[in-house]
């Protein structure tokens, strides 16, 4: 900030520093993608080139590597991809519809104990999953849920603390006159919610969908703990299995598999990065 609008030399050195930061932060992902389209021998050589040699072999080498990952006899990535999509879709859908109703009630409908409930809700966000995982496993075992996808998404149908908190902040920010006018017109809380608040909350809902999608897509520990059958594996479990399976996985193929699991979140992020960064603020500073 000290250099703001100062000499050209100062501005140039600031730009150069920014470029260094950009390269350092982007390099791991670039190197992952670069390795994923090289033949194994070139991936292992000390060279720093980003493309295979000869460069024209890149498309066919990419086909070969990604094809080998998808056709792996022991790690069924297409199945894990389908499993992940099912689990994430069920979890995000349940999370959004329940959280939006709970958040509206918490923000706009009269009830006793609103403040303590909000505090407890935020408090649960501070409880690390490892603290809960052992008793949750026993609970799910008693319910007969081990061996199904239920442990990964069922709880979100009753709401998700972070989503409720974000939506609560949004509904709280709507002007009070809105529901006063609606109540004079004889609208019930439900009608006010359905016809006035919900249509206004489209952006806030998009943020919840994005964040919960990313969270569930990326989650590793919950699937690791609750999923025991290989047929029920998610992509993240599959990727870990692929890396640790007997007879070392070649690096170029491991990077191809990693690229495949990263790509969906990355595409969503690139398309929506403004929403992402803004939401990480609203969730954070206003606590």
């Amino acid at each position: 900030m000290s250099l703001r609008g100062h000499s050209p030399a100062a501005r140039a050195s600031r730009s150069a520093l920014m470029l260094v930061v950009a390269v350092v932060f982007a390099m791991p992902l670039i190197w992952m993608a670069a390795t994923s389209i090289k033949p194994e021998s070139q991936a292992m050589s000390q060279g720093l080139s980003f493309l295979p040699d000869p460069v024209t072999s890149a498309p066919s080498q990419a086909m070969e590597n990604y094809g080998a990952v998808l056709d792996d006899p022991t790690v069924d990535f297409p199945l894990y991809m389908r499993n992940t999509i099912v689990v994430v879709a069920l979890g995000v859908f349940g999370c959004v519809i329940s959280s939006v109703v709970v958040a509206y009630g918490l923000a706009r409908v009269p009830m006793p104990g609103r403040r303590p409930l909000l505090v407890v809700t935020v408090g649960t966000m501070l409880i690390p999953f490892p603290v809960l995982m052992a008793p949750l496993f026993m609970l799910y075992a008693k319910l007969g849920w081990i061996g199904t996808f239920l442990p990964l998404y069922a709880q979100f149908w009753l709401g998700n603390a972070f989503s409720i908190f974000l939506l609560h902040q949004f509904f709280k920010s709507l002007p009070k006159e809105l529901d006063e006018a609606a109540s004079i017109d004889g609208c019930s809380h439900w009608q006010t919610f359905r016809h006035i608040a919900l249509p206004l909350s489209r952006n806030a809902l998009a943020v919840v969908v994005l964040l919960h999608f990313t969270y569930m897509w990326n989650d590793f520990l919950a699937p690791l703990v609750f999923i025991v059958d290989r047929e029920k594996f998610t992509l993240m479990l599959g990727l870990q299995l692929y890396q640790s399976k007997a007879g070392q996985t070649p690096w170029n193929l491991l990077m191809a598999a990693s690229t495949m699991t990263v790509l969906p979140v990355l595409v969503v992020f690139v398309l929506t990065n403004r929403l992402f960064t803004r939401s990480s603020l609203s969730g954070a500073v206003k606590g």
Binding site: S2, M32, M111, L132, P135, L158, N218, M255
Partner: protein, 291 residues
């Protein structure tokens, strides 16, 4: 609907799903955990009441001490380094230009990359024989270690990897910096303050709450670090990267010691609460002596 719908209690119906969710998925597991922590429980036989034995065993379990110490060492590096680095990057990016906006996106990107994929990427970057990091060091005339296979270096590698995903604090600090009134900087400049002093005396008071918030969040995160060491080092070499949550996981799901793991879970909560209180106390002290 309307009579009941307008009553003082109408909201309870709206939050009912979440009340049930809280009870079933948070309160019940915590209560169950408290009970199991006072039992011997292998999941195969019914739990056997042992009182506070599990907690007593923790006190004399060298592996537990090791895991606590490792986690503290990791946090002691990651948290201060990430505060400094994130503040520096935020300060650097606090200009309105196209390049700055692009770099913000690039710095935030690692935070959306799945931890398992990050682990694979850094496993490859830190590879002793063929990794990019040692290749670059080689070009500079240095010979890099077998990062993940040597004590000390393995911990350092995990710290570096954690610093890759500081996008969240950077974004928060950037927003806080943008709230600092520009006139204050100019006043500081007129008074002959250098950039560093201006940062400490002008910007710091406005961003201190954001730093406090981030340190708390990162403390909680550090106590649950699991995926990266589990995949990249399996806690090694020689348990030098064996962290709290990893040992808890192993007790619960590898050694089938559910009672012991439940005791660890409660101790973990207590340790986190103690850390937060300590940070709070230190911050208040700094605050009162600083002003």
């Amino acid at each position: 609907m309307s009579a009941a719908g307008r009553s003082r209690f109408a909201g309870l119906l709206w939050v009912l799903p979440w009340l049930i969710g809280l009870c079933v998925f948070f309160l019940a597991p915590m209560g169950l955990g408290a009970y199991y922590s006072m039992t011997d429980y292998t999941m195969l036989e019914p739990p056997l009441w042992v009182g506070l034995d599990n907690y007593a065993s923790l006190a004399s379990d060298p592996v537990f001490h090791r895991a606590v110490l490792n986690t503290i060492v990791y946090a002691a590096f990651v948290i201060p380094l990430s505060v400094v680095l994130a503040l520096a990057i935020a300060g650097l990016l606090d200009v309105d230009s196209r390049l700055s906006r692009l770099v913000r996106v690039l710095v935030f990107t690692p935070t959306v990359v799945p931890l398992v994929a990050s682990a694979m990427i850094w496993l490859w970057l830190f590879n002793g024989d063929h990794g990019l990091i040692n290749a670059v060091l080689h070009m500079l005339g240095l010979s890099g270690p077998n990062w993940l296979g040597e004590r000390g270096f393995a911990m350092a590698a995990l710290v570096v990897m954690a610093l890759w995903s500081i996008g969240q604090p950077v974004v928060i600090y950037l927003a806080a910096l943008q709230d600092v009134p520009r006139e204050l900087y100019e006043a500081g400049q007129l008074d002959g303050m250098g950039p560093v002093r201006r940062f400490v005396h002008v910007a710091m008071p406005s961003i201190a709450p954001a730093v406090f918030f981030n340190v708390i969040i990162q403390t909680i995160t550090a106590w649950q670090v699991f995926a990266a060491p589990y995949i990249m080092t399996e806690g090694g070499p020689d348990r030098s990267t064996y962290f709290y949550s990893h040992y808890l996981y192993d007790n619960a799901f590898l050694f089938q010691r559910m009672g012991y793991a439940s005791a660890m879970a409660w101790v973990q909560l207590m340790l986190i609460a103690a850390c937060i209180l300590a940070i709070y106390a230190v911050t208040r002290k700094l605050w009162s002596t600083g002003t």
